[in-house]
Amino acid sequence: MEFFKSIPTHIDYVGQAKAEKLYRAIITLFSIVGFIWGYIVQQFSQSVYILGAGFILASILTVPPWPMYRRNPLNWQNPRNTEEKPSGKKGKK
C-alpha cells in the first residue's frame, strides 16, 4: 500500500497546459491527415480510423501523469517555525 501511495500522480501547472496543448495538436493533426487520406481513397471510414488512432496516441501520451509533466514544481515558501507564536496573538490567555 505504501508503495502505491509513493507513486506520484500529480502534474504541475505547466505540465497541465502542456498536456492540453499536446493532445489538441495530436488530434488536430491526425484529423487533417485522416481527412486528406480519406478524400484520396474516397473512404470516409479511413478518416474515422485515423482519427481514432490519434485519439489513442493522445490518450497514451497525455492521460497518465507522466514525469515529463512534472518538471516545473511550484516554489513553495519554506514553512514558518510554528513553535514561535505570532506576535499579534500575545495576549491570548
Binding site: 497541465q16 488530434i27 478524400y39 474516397q42 470516409f44 474515422v48 497525455t62
Partner: protein, 179 residues
Amino acid sequence: MYSVLTRGNGILTYTLSVLACLTFLCFLSTLTVDYRTAAQMNTVKVVVKNIADYGVSREKNDLGYLTFDLKTDLSSLFNWNVKQLFLYLTAEYITPANELNQVVLWDKIILRGENAILDFKNMNIKYYFWDDGNGLKGHNNVTLTLSWNIIPNAGLLPNIGAIGQHSFKFPTDYTQTRV
C-alpha cells in the same frame, strides 16, 4: 487538466467535436457533385387487365403489367459520401380522373462496392401497376422514368432523376388470360 479523469474527458470531447467537423466537411466536399447520369430503358411486353383489387373494393380497375429492359452505368455516382443508392422506376401518365399519376413499378438497392453497371433484359415489374379507374386501357402516352435516392454518410438525401425516359402505349384490349 489536473487529473486523469479531466484529461480523459477533454480528449474524448475534443475528438468527438473534431469528428463532427470532419463529417460536416465530408458533406461539404460532395455538396456540388452532379449525380445525374444517363439511363436507357425500354418496354418489352405490355398488357392491361381489368380485374378487382379486393383489398380496396369490388369495383374492377385497370391493372397494367409490363416487362422492361434497363441499361445504365451508375458507378460514377459513388463517392465517399454515398453509402447506397435506392433506384426506382416510375410510370407517369395523365388520366381524365387525375392530372398526374405516378406509380412505382420496380426498385433496387445498390450498396457501395456492389456492381453498379446494370444491364437488365426483360425484367418483371415488382409492384402492381394499378390505376384508380379505367385509365390504362388504350393509354397512348405512359412515361417510364428512373430515379434514385442517394443515401449519404452525412448530409442531404436527394432524389435524382436519370437522364432519359421511355414512353409506351397500352393495348386497346384487355388481356383475359394469365400473364
